[in-house]
Amino acid sequence: MSESTVRYSPRGRARAIKGFLRQFLSYGSAQVGLVCLVFFLVVAAVPNILVGPLQTAINATGDFLVPPSGQHLLGTDEVGRDVLNLVVHGARISLMIALLSTVISLVVGTTIGMTAGYYGGRVDVWLMRLTDFFFVMPSFVLALVITPVVLEVMGRGGEILGFRPSLFVILVVIGMTSWAFVARIVRSQTLSLKERTFIDRARVVGSSNFNIMVRHILPNLVPQIAANGALVVAGAIYVETSLSFLGLGDPLQPSWGTLLSLAQRAGAASAGAWWYLGAPGVCVLTVSLSFVLIGNALDDTFNPRRRVIP
């Protein structure tokens, strides 16, 4: 046994992971959710191979608002673009925004929640007041206020950290409005972990506060963070869709929400073009549902008390 294998004990950890996966995959909801999610992740990863480059009004391949046929499996839009092409490219934007904003929300929420819960006292009071402020802030209002400012400063064509400004705004807005939920959950869990004897032991053996938080509290928070993270993604997809639907999205990089917005503006509902509204709609529903299913299954797996006794 080499030194490093001893220190990180891959056998024990692998066994734990294996047991976890077996339990997790025994839930039907986890299986359904994972299959849907993997399907959409593959689609989002290689859109060009599947349906060719993103179609615009210039390189559109069909007539206006043609119903689904052999040539256009999901019909076309009001400028003749293939809806399947748009939906597949939209998957990439939607999922990217949702996942990135979830990462922001988890990092901010965990840091603030853990710090507040661990230190308690005045730190806790002020951090939680801040959290409450963001907790009640409506994402739409925030987006409506920030978007024009950012666009004014950057111009529509610029880029922030490699993102086009309107996407960046959506990312930040979702991240800012969803971390408070995570922070509250993490804080309450930290409060109960802090009372456990192994934290006392860590202190007696000389671990610093930072080490206690990172090596003792954080690993024990992973279950809560993972389970709720999946729910945050589901929420982020909805918020992204709604913000884009209101016209805050980027028409040059259409997400599912942008597509819904375009369809609505093109009068797809009154024209009877159900495929145009339906395709992105079903995608939003399926992806967020699969995240909810995965989140609940994770919660059940990590929390044996909620497990149903066979």
Partner: protein
């Protein structure tokens, strides 16, 4: 008692926890009370000495242990380690030299071990955080040595295991190994065997006693069990409601107790075989009062079958009744 022989001294140590008054009280400026968990304790532990701290729940025995291991901050009195005042020292880096020499063993080993860490990581944690090893080879050596000293053989078999994969006795041995790894000079053991199966207890006690024999390590053994204290300790200190009522050698306290509370405690302890001198005092009535409402005078007087007027008015000092034997009772002589 000679100063130099003592590794640790507590001088009128006090831990009061404030009671948060309601908003109403605060507005009216009513003084909030305090829970007097530890209310003026003098105690010394010699190098390589085993002292047992005996008391019921609510006596403050655990708080004393937490003060010594710097998990709780005293509100009064002094904590002296080798004559050096450690009362005000705080923060993990400032306490590093102290933690190197004072370690703790916990009652519930299952709770004291992080369920997500392996045995190796648990025992290595103090060595890493106190920066006591230079490289991985040294780390592995020290961890193996500590596990072996705690009776987990062969040590490598346990490296990769998680706490839930161990038996109760093995878990307590891992906790002990973690404390031993830094080669401390004083270990505070808070009820280290009370959660263990009866047949395992003696094994763990044996490990602790061996440590003293081999490394002349001092031990503060916190327990509620008087016979157990007698078995393991050199001296026994009996605690009632935050104050020492009697202290003396293990044999003195067991066979010649002076304080009525010690006598009551001894009489209440179930014994195998004949128990001579049981009927010296009637059994105690009632229960330990709350540490938020400590009785005036001698704090034991409301339950004491021998209490008289003076006990209700004046708190008795520790009176010397024999060599190394002190009793805080007006009747002691």
């Amino acid at each position: 008692m000679p100063d130099t022989a003592d590794i640790l001294r507590l001088e009128s140590l006090q831990v009061h926890f404030p009671i948060q008054g309601g908003l109403f009280d605060r507005v009216l400026g009513r003084p909030a009370g305090a829970v007097r968990a530890v209310d003026g304790i003098d105690l010394n532990i010699g190098r390589g000495e085993i002292v047992a701290l005996v008391g019921e729940s609510g006596s403050g025995k655990t708080t004393v242990g937490r003060v010594i291991t710097k998990l709780a901050q005293p509100t009064g009195g002094k904590l002296l380690f080798e004559g050096r005042d450690m009362t005000a020292e705080r923060g993990s880096s400032a306490l590093r030299p102290y933690r190197h020499r004072v370690q703790m063993i916990f009652q519930d080993a299952y709770q004291a071990l992080n369920p997500r860490h392996t045995v190796f990581d648990i025992v290595a944690e103090p060595l890493r955080s106190l920066r006591l090893v230079k490289n991985n080879a040294q780390l592995t050596e020290r961890v193996s040595e500590a596990l072996a000293a705690a009776g987990l053989n062969p040590p490598d078999d346990f490296f990769a295991r998680f706490p839930h994969e161990l038996s109760g006795g093995q878990r307590q041995r891992v906790v002990i190994a973690g404390a031993l790894a830094v080669r401390p000079e004083l270990i505070v053991a808070d009820e280290p065997v009370s959660m263990l199966d009866v047949s395992i207890r003696a094994q763990i006690l044996q490990v602790l006693v061996d440590l003293r024999a081999k490394h002349s390590m001092a031990l503060l053994f916190i327990t509620h069990d008087l016979p157990l204290a007698w078995l393991i300790a050199d001296r026994i200190a009996v605690l009632y409601l935050g104050k020492l009522v009697e202290i003396g050698t293990a044999d003195e306290i067991t066979f010649n107790p002076c304080h009525p509370y010690t006598v009551a405690l001894r009489n209440a302890t179930p014994q195998v075989g004949a128990n001579a001198g049981r009927a010296e005092l009637p059994a105690l009535q009632g229960e330990v009062p709350s540490a938020a409402r400590v009785p005036k005078g001698c704090r034991f007087h409301p339950r004491c079958p021998l209490a008289f007027d003076r006990c209700r008015q004046e708190e008795p000092p520790a009176i010397e009744v024999g060599p190394q034997h002190l009793s805080a009772c007006w009747l002691a002589k």
